[in-house]
Amino acid sequence: MFNVTKAELRKLRRPTLLISTILVVAALTALFTSIVFLRANSGQGNGQRGEIITPETLSSATGLIYGFKIVSFFLGITALCVFASQTAQEYSLGTLRNLLVRQPSRMKILAGKYLSMIIFAVALVVIDAIVAIAVSYFLAPHAKVTTSAWFTASALALLGKTFVNVLLGTIAFGTFGMILGLLFRSPISSIATGVIWSLILENILAGVVSSTQKWLPGQNFDNVAQGGSPTVSYHWSMGIAAAYLVLGFSIVAVLFKRRDVAN
């Protein structure tokens, strides 16, 4: 399995994919963190869904993580696209047959691929954290935010917890992308389906019928990344997300194991 992971990391570290993804994540993180801080004194919404985050809130221990977790949804969508394309392209390029000749255990291929993409997701979240903290620290004086509470033990513990939650949310979205990639066997179809579902359909559904938020996969993945919300608890979202992913992954794993590789 680790040989598969090593091989996959060679593909994931290619400059066109790695640098462009890092730049997109860094730019989005910098943009959204800047909005949180630069609009902190405007009295208007500067957080998710019009939430108002005041300089006083930003000066507390939680101030360090606002910029970090505000882009968690976009990190998830990025992971969805990367996981889906890296999986489905093996079919569209015809390279799956090469992989299976060199590693006949299909479950090892799947596990090795998944591990490599989790490593990629960790890198994305680390970049998100570094950029968000750096931009927050740089913009804090402009927003009249004091940073003394940011580096206390409780703030760092919160940072660690947020890191884990954002990572879990990102991996959940990525896993959803991998499931779609294995199901559709086409990068375009799997990415389009994943993005349209998560970014558009789920948000419309959740906006129109708020009770669906509790049940929609993407909403729960994001809620895990946010550490829970007043309407849907963290543990509920963890349970629902895990149920969706375990079921989905089990189905596609069986398909992957049994399906003839005829292309």
């Binding site: 091989a7 593909k11 015809g94 060199r102 590789v261």
Partner: protein
């Protein structure tokens, strides 16, 4: 273990269509075996089953002495290029090989020597998407050689190669065979296969038409005598003489083609002489693999 590949009643059915039906053949160890058949005859399906990519609907088989139901036991000793090369376009040729070397746990040092071996040393750093068809084919062969294989399975390895490239691949296969590597190679270039294949498996519509030594197949075919009289007016007389003695004959391109062994050439010469015909040329030809293939497959 005396066979590199052995299959018995190997069958693959897709829905109601039979892609391969009760195929039975053996490929001895250390030989080059040609695998021929028209498009859609089941060659690639057979190769995919041998490599564990698709599950047989019936029958049994072994590769390097191991059952094909456990490809993990023999694939580390098998190199393969199936249905043309397939690589990651955004990676260089060398990086593509490194991906496969990592995957199979092979030393990365092999990559440079294999690129050298297939004539891609100077383009190994270029992205795969910039490669010509011939270069892609060479990279595919390099990938197949990564495990230093005991059995090499090549599906149309000369596709897209120019004549010198085809000759290089032919020499490469010969070199590998002389080192004891078994090679199972499918190709539409039958003249190439005739030169390198000691054994042959021929398929048509999913069924094995022939499997055995190439020489045995060719020797079993009836030879043709080509007789060219001094004067073209004698062409029809020659046809009549041959037909009268039980040989089918026809006029093709200013000569008479007579189905018959080379031994009958002397008799024909004497009969023609007695009939007042002078033969300007008399040649006995054995059918080539290509002619035999067309004859057997009805293509």
């Amino acid at each position: 273990m005396t066979t590199a590949i052995s299959v018995k009643d190997l069958t693959k059915i897709y829905g109601e269509r039979s892609a391969l039906s009760h195929a039975t053949f053996e490929v001895p160890l250390g030989t080059v075996c040609g695998f021929v058949g028209p498009n859609g005859s089941g060659k690639t399906t057979t190769i995919r089953m041998l490599l564990g990519l698709i599950t047989p609907s019936g029958g049994t088989g072994t590769v390097l002495g191991e059952n094909i139901t456990h490809p993990e036991r023999y694939l580390p000793r098998v190199g393969a290029m199936i249905e043309g090369p397939a690589f990651y376009p955004a990676l260089s040729g060398a990086e593509n090989l490194r991906v496969l070397a990592s995957l199979g746990g092979f030393p990365q040092e092999r990559v440079a020597s294999l690129l050298e071996k297939v004539g891609l040393a100077d383009r190994g750093g270029s992205k795969y998407k910039t490669y010509s068809l011939g270069m892609k084919q060479r990279l595919g062969i390099a990938a197949a050689l990564l495990p230093n294989p005991k059995l090499l399975v090549l599906d149309e390895p000369t596709n897209g190669l120019d004549p010198s490239g085809i000759q290089e691949i032919r020499n490469l296969i010969k070199d590998l065979a002389s080192d004891g590597t078994s090679v199972f190679v499918s190709s539409h270039l039958l003249s190439e296969l005739e030169q390198i294949s000691e054994y042959l498996v021929m398929l048509r519509e999913g069924e094995v038409l022939f499997s055995g030594r190439t020489q045995d197949l060719l020797a079993a075919q009836t030879a043709t005598l080509i007789a060219k009289p001094e004067f073209t007016v004698d062409l029809s007389k020659l046809v009549e003489i041959a037909t009268r003695h039980g040989h089918s004959a026809s006029v093709e391109g200013g000569a008479v083609h007579i189905v018959g062994d080379a031994d009958w050439g002397a008799t024909l010469n004497r009969l023609a002489f007695n009939a007042g015909i002078t033969l300007a040329e008399l040649t006995a030809t054995q059918p080539t693999l290509e002619e035999t293939f067309f004859e057997m497959t009805g293509e």
